[in-house]
Symmetry: C2
Subunit: 292 residues, 2 copies
């Protein structure tokens, strides 16, 4: 027998044996990542002590999740979302200085190429829902206005669908637009009050949510990407604090600082000025960008 | 604002927020399993601090792994195998009393319905490779022979393929058979010396192995499932200790106690008795079954 000093796998040494097998990896970062993944997986197995049946159920869950993925559907991102992993990755990549606006997940419904509009434009092209005025300022950490900031906004419609989910039903670029600030750093545009909506829940992840006693809904929100020369880009949402799901976002995207103020304005002459019908929602939210 | 005492997700409290969201799950075991998985995933993210690009690469790796799975190929089991997870699950489910033979992974090539043969039969139906006699005893923890033990064996051929991998090339049930012990607990059968072989490495898992500087090979082995009334079933292998990959099994299946003795026997008359041509390998290995 020619075997000297080989450490065969045992229940006790499993992590060391598997991790040391990767010692020849050329990519140091991959080696480091796989060491952590291996250690955490083995720790999970030791703690859970899955039966062979449970292990096989996990294999089949991952397989079904993979089979659900196609050009239009990313079930593994959904899985990452509902386990809070996407938000945690967002958090570790977007630690902001105190006072700067916080980020949240981008979500799957962003579309490049939305039209740049004049400040004040109405991005609602399907005439559905409750009118809304959104306004605020883009500021630096000292409270000074940021000029020439580009604000890319998108949101779901009154029925909880994005335009790309209802091609042929909603007008193209419905509820999307780009706005550019002037020297006062102010922005404003018109839209409709968004509604909560479910993440796609007809796949393995939706089934898991059901088994966990969880609903699939995201509270109503508007998406923003804000870019300005010399500042970090900010990808975030603002949320309706009165939404029934505000405390239980299926993907954990809500942060306290992202709750906006939604005021019902019944001043008919002000509504008329905005070409609204009698009353509207007014949302005010400033954003503070961190220095690049 | 109607929000009281909602704990919104932060980088610091992420584990508690996600785990507590599953409080309504009806299946207590699922709740417990998901709590551990969530905690270990979040610990991994905190330690790795993946970039958004790295996170997306992981998503795409899982997606590709899922897409590789079909009726004939289980890429997630391969992934579990090469990360040592399958062996660890086997280990926690098969803790044996001291002295009992150890288990190892079953592998994907087991087939039900192999023929029950007379003791001594030659399971090699394709006349390829180096002749081999395998023999030993099935014993209880006190060293007494176990009568009426059913021994289900299977192995790869001289080229490193199982019959099911070469349908139409190898005869059906080549190198498979069931044997039943008598009162002496002894078993013996004839076969050919197995060869090392690669796990399927043309998918995402094989690519990962390559990036980790690892080969895909499993050292030469024979598979056994041994069952006897009143004893725990034993699923295991015995290995050729002189195999070039004995210290680096791609799936970590080797245990020191599973190394068998392979002796080259050049006694021509003994070979002739066994209907072998001049010489043969003799393998001796006893198995000790744990009480049920």
């Amino acid at each position: 027998m020619k075997i000297d000093k080989v450490d065969f796998f045992t229940e006790e040494n499993s992590i060391d044996v598997v991790v040391s097998r990767n010692s020849e990896a050329k990519d140091e970062r991959l080696k480091e990542v796989m060491a952590v993944i291996t250690r955490k997986l083995h720790e999970a197995v030791r703690e859970i002590e899955p039966t062979q049946d449970e292990w096989f159920k996990a294999i089949m869950f991952l397989t079904d999740t993979g089979h659900m993925c196609d050009e239009w559907r990313q079930e593994f991102i959904l899985l990452s979302d509902v386990l809070g992993v996407s938000m945690l990755v967002d958090a570790v990549n977007n630690r902001k200085p105190s006072g700067a606006s916080e980020s949240t997940v981008m979500g799957p419904f962003y579309v490049e190429g939305a039209p740049e509009l004049e400040m004040g434009a109405n991005i609602c092209l399907d005439q559905k829902g409750e009118d809304m005025l959104i306004r605020g300022r883009i500021l630096d950490g000292e409270g000074n206005p940021i000029s020439d900031a580009l604000i890319d906004v998108w949101q779901a419609n009154d029925e909880g669908f994005y335009d790309v989910q209802q091609k042929g039903i909603q007008p193209e670029y419905n509820l999307r637009g780009l706005f550019r600030t002037g020297p006062d750093g102010e922005y404003w545009f018109r839209a409709v009050k968004p509604k909560f909506y479910p993440i796609p829940d007809d796949g393995p992840v939706g089934k898991l949510l059901g088994q966990l006693g969880r609903h699939p809904n995201r509270p109503a929100h508007l998406h923003y990407i804000i870019k300005a020369e010399g500042f970090q880009s900010l990808t975030t949402h603002i949320f309706d604090p009165d939404d029934p799901y505000i405390g239980s976002d299926a993907v954990f995207g809500v942060k306290e600082s992202l709750l906006a103020k939604f005021d019902k304005i019944t001043d008919a002459s002000r509504a008329a000025e905005l070409e609204f019908d009698g009353w509207f929602w007014q949302v005010e939210h400033d954003f503070v960008l961190a220095k690049a």
